[in-house]
Amino acid sequence: MNLHEFLLSPDESARREGPHNKIVMSSRVRLARNIKGAAFPGWAKKADRIKTLDIVRPAVESLPQMADHFSETMDNLTLLDKNILVERHLISREHAAKNAGSGLVFNREETLCVMINEEDHLRMQALRPGLQLKQAWQAIDQVDSKLEKKLEYAFSPDIGYLTACPTNLGTGIRVSAMLHLPGLVLAEQINQIIQAVNKLGLAVRGLYGEGTEALGNVFQVSNQMTLGEAETDIVERLSKVLSQIIEHEENARGTLLEKKPKTVYNHIGRAYGILANAHSISSKETMNLLSLMRLGVDLGLFPDLDRAPVDELFVVTQPNHLQKRYSDKLTAEERDLLRADMLRERLRTVSRPKPKPTPPSSGAEKS
């Protein structure tokens, strides 16, 4: 089946709601698993990788949770398709670089996605909108329990699930949430928060995961340690930290509005001005300005705009989504022009931000 017929439309995807989705854009729990005795994908020869893929892929496809699925080998996807999957946060950049011997299976709702022969034989992830770490863990735990009946996992009673990189050993779990934190960035408190979170043994990364920039004030927070602690404890610990970050972000927004309303209105007004009127704009600038518009929506400055269309623009203005829509032979300059055209058109009916006479308390905002 065609990937683009199967994928949710960006609009549909952006309209999904979850708890705390003003600040938490999505939750994810992934498990790393390997087949006993088989060389890990990074070391296995192509023939062996294909053999593993042929064992794992049918097992994943037959899961009840995958009743309606998309399944493909990575060599059958174009580079553009793979990059679109990265921009949708369904696969990692590392997986997008794979070809023969690697594969991908995900369900219709895009809540369950399994990468085969990425760094490990299996990287299975449950995805949820908003803050839903427990639900995501339970979902992926069930998938894993089904798969262990069909596949013989590499497991040691002492050190747990055996993974290609020792950093994932034990539970093989990575629990993460994608957070939109413009308030903490504007209040210049973000570095303190990152340092505090790091001290707790958690990692803070950028928009596309490991080694990427925090574009659009979006940060990924995840656990780093996987051995010596049970999955539920890791989920619990991260949940606690996340609710603290949410509180700090809300406080930062409230304080900014109270103490420096002009600064906030200035940032949001300028963001709107550029996005609605530019004739050439880069992906990076777009993300950073859309982040401010999203903040404006949260603060009630755009009465005729919801969060979903802004989130949709986050997705469709990315380079590969533009290439897909227009032509895959676009230069960066041409993309910047088309991106600006799209933004002007989408924001044509959105009236400019209206500062409120009295700053609202953060609790009274539209959520």
């Binding site: 390997n34 006993k36 005795g37 088989a38 060389a39 890990f40 990074g42 070391w43 760094e119 735990d141 894993d144 329990s145 262990e148 009946k149 996992y153 590499a154 497991f155 040691s156 009673p157 002492d158 050190i159 747990g160 699930y161 055996l162 290609a164 990189c165 020792p166 950093t167 050993l169 034990g170 539970t171 779990i173 043994g201 780093q224 340690m225 996987t226 051995l227 010596g228 602690e229 049970a230 999955e231 404890d233």
Partner: protein, 169 residues
């Protein structure tokens, strides 16, 4: 800044590595860096420090033979140093000695506390049960409680059969 090895030439290669909350810095001149094999920053990975194969130590190691190799997949310690990842699940047995210290620095503990595959869980429970039954049997025999001993013997037989059935599945 002078090279911290030869202390003569200016240091041009600066390496900083953070492991846990410890930061290590090495400043080398180009000559010493090449000699220590750290002229390729990509090749000088986490694994060096983690496996205790610092650049200096490694230079002192004899290059000849004796290097560990995984019998299952042929992966060597040098491969791990290069890739920072292991070759297969058996490598954890092959390289267990070097890995121990590494796991201590990167994780909360070195004992798995999480999920266990169901089949593994069952066999673990059965073998625990077998041990306790054996103890009860011994006790019954010493106490000459033959009725109890006979029932323990039957239970042991049944448990062993269950274990065997699990192993063949």
């Amino acid at each position: 800044m002078l090279c911290c090895v030869c202390k003569e030439k200016e240091a041009k290669v600066h390496l900083t590595q953070i492991v846990g909350d410890k930061m290590q810095k090495v400043d080398l001149c180009e000559g010493c860096a090449a000699q220590k094999g750290v002229n390729d920053p990509a090749g000088f990975s986490l694994a060096d420090l983690l496996l205790g194969l610092g650049a200096t130590q490694e230079a002192e190691q004899s290059p000849a033979g004796g290097e560990l190799k995984c019998p299952n997949c042929g992966f060597t310690q040098a491969d791990f140093k290069k890739a920072g990842r292991l070759g297969c699940s058996e490598c954890y047995v092959t390289f267990s000695e070097g890995l121990d210290g590494l796991l201590k620095t990167m994780h909360k503990g070195t004992k798995h506390m999480g999920k266990v595959p169901h089949a593994m869980q069952q066999s673990r429970e059965l073998s625990d049960r077998l041990k306790s039954l054996q103890k009860k049997l011994d006790k019954a025999v010493t106490e000459e409680d033959f009725e109890q001993a006979a029932s323990m013997r039957d239970e042991i037989k049944a448990t062993k059969e269950k274990l065997a059935a699990l192993a063949t599945n």
